[in-house]
Symmetry: C2
Subunit: 213 residues, 2 copies
DNA sequence: GTCTATAAATGGATAGAC
DNA sequence: GTCTATCCATTTATAGAC
């Protein structure tokens, strides 16, 4: 009993790893079974097909993302809190990056995931917007008309696709480095809206950036 | 003779359209031939496989992108010039969006495209950087240390993935609208670095934004 | 729960007639 | 250049034994 991982869970783990490595479209159910050392028939006993596996993985992803996005930040004005928040967000996306990397393929195979995926992005954007509101209320930043909304949208998009961009332009780096890079490039986008002198904020970020390496 | 499009070109056109619509991984050579109303054998006479088609499409894409990116902007300080430049860039990306949408799949099938794709992104980033330099030299914007580099990277990433993000969060819009939206959200990111009052710049952009709809 | 064997479907690719 | 016919490989999916 102790330590024994159920086959069902092993299938999900293996599928996720393979999908992230090679892309969902390149991995067949036979591949998954072969890597695990089980028979295709056994795999089909647990999941009736690849769609079902993908949907189960999305369930996991959605649950974790909702958990992360709904966890309120204790001290919104504290840089460290926001740093950690963005870091965790990137880690979550990185863990399920095959969804983003082969989106067309995934949504074609599982059309019912499209609205769910869209809702998740919307939730991300709303969360970012709420944090910006808190920062403005706290007097740390100030916005002109329409600027907050534009920044929230932009940051959500940045959070969504940065890892992919980085992976393309500077491959062969550890995911640790890429994520850290992503957090910095996210947080630094707030700098221009700092009320008053933005240099100290930038300096603080650079400090964190170095520490995390 | 006149008006007759060669089969080879029709294959490329049809493939591009199908890839953009359904994703490269979901479209087989048989599908392409069927849609065109020709036989699979005929298709194979012109292209020895799907890889060859994809690579031919990338050749087109690369050539057009290089052309766009190397065309010097006449008046870098003029908003209209930059607006048009970004617009054309987005249009180009939109025309070949299957490369971005199903990147994992494409690069898995044609590994030799990876470095070429990466070089193209790099060129994009360098071009953006050059424009920013011109703007700063012209006295329109000012940067703190490291800010220009960060902005150039960010803008390049934004240019690369914005359409995809928009398509997910607000689907069923005309590509015209999505692109226009993208141009605005790109240009507005420069606003915080405007030397002096940034309100006039933002107002001008909003003006263009409305005009283009 | 797990295996073997196999069916059914699809996609990639080629030979040879027209 | 184009078609028909066909073959091979891969993938999905199921039946039945252990």
């Amino acid at each position: 009993m102790a330590g024994k991982v159920k086959t069902r869970d092993r299938i999900l783990q293996t599928s996720l790893a393979l999908f992230n490595q090679e892309g969902e479209a390149q991995v067949s159910t036979v591949d998954i079974a072969a890597v695990m050392g089980i028979s295709p028939g056994n795999l089909y006993y647990h999941f009736r097909g690849k769609e079902v596996i993908i949907e189960a993985l999305f369930d996991d992803f959605e649950e974790e993302m909702r958990q992360v996005l709904s966890a309120p930040i204790k001290r919104p004005l504290d840089i460290e809190d926001n740093w950690i928040f963005v870091y965790i967000l990137f880690e979550e996306i990185n863990d399920f990056r095959f969804f983003y990397y082969g989106l067309a393929s995934v949504l074609e195979r599982c059309p019912n995931l499209r609205p769910r995926f869209a809702r998740l992005l919307k939730l991300k954007q709303d969360t970012v917007d709420a944090i910006l509101t808190a920062l403005e209320k706290g007097g740390l930043i100030t916005f002109g008309p329409g600027e907050q909304d534009a920044l929230a949208t932009r940051l959500a998009a940045h959070l969504t696709f940065w890892l992919q961009y980085r992976d393309l332009t500077a491959p062969a780096q550890s995911s640790r480095t890429i994520i850290n890079d992503g957090v910095y490039s996210t947080m630094i986008q707030i700098a221009p809206y700092i009320a008053g002198d933005r240099a100290p904020y930038a300096a603080l970020l650079t400090e964190y950036f170095k520490k995390q390496r």
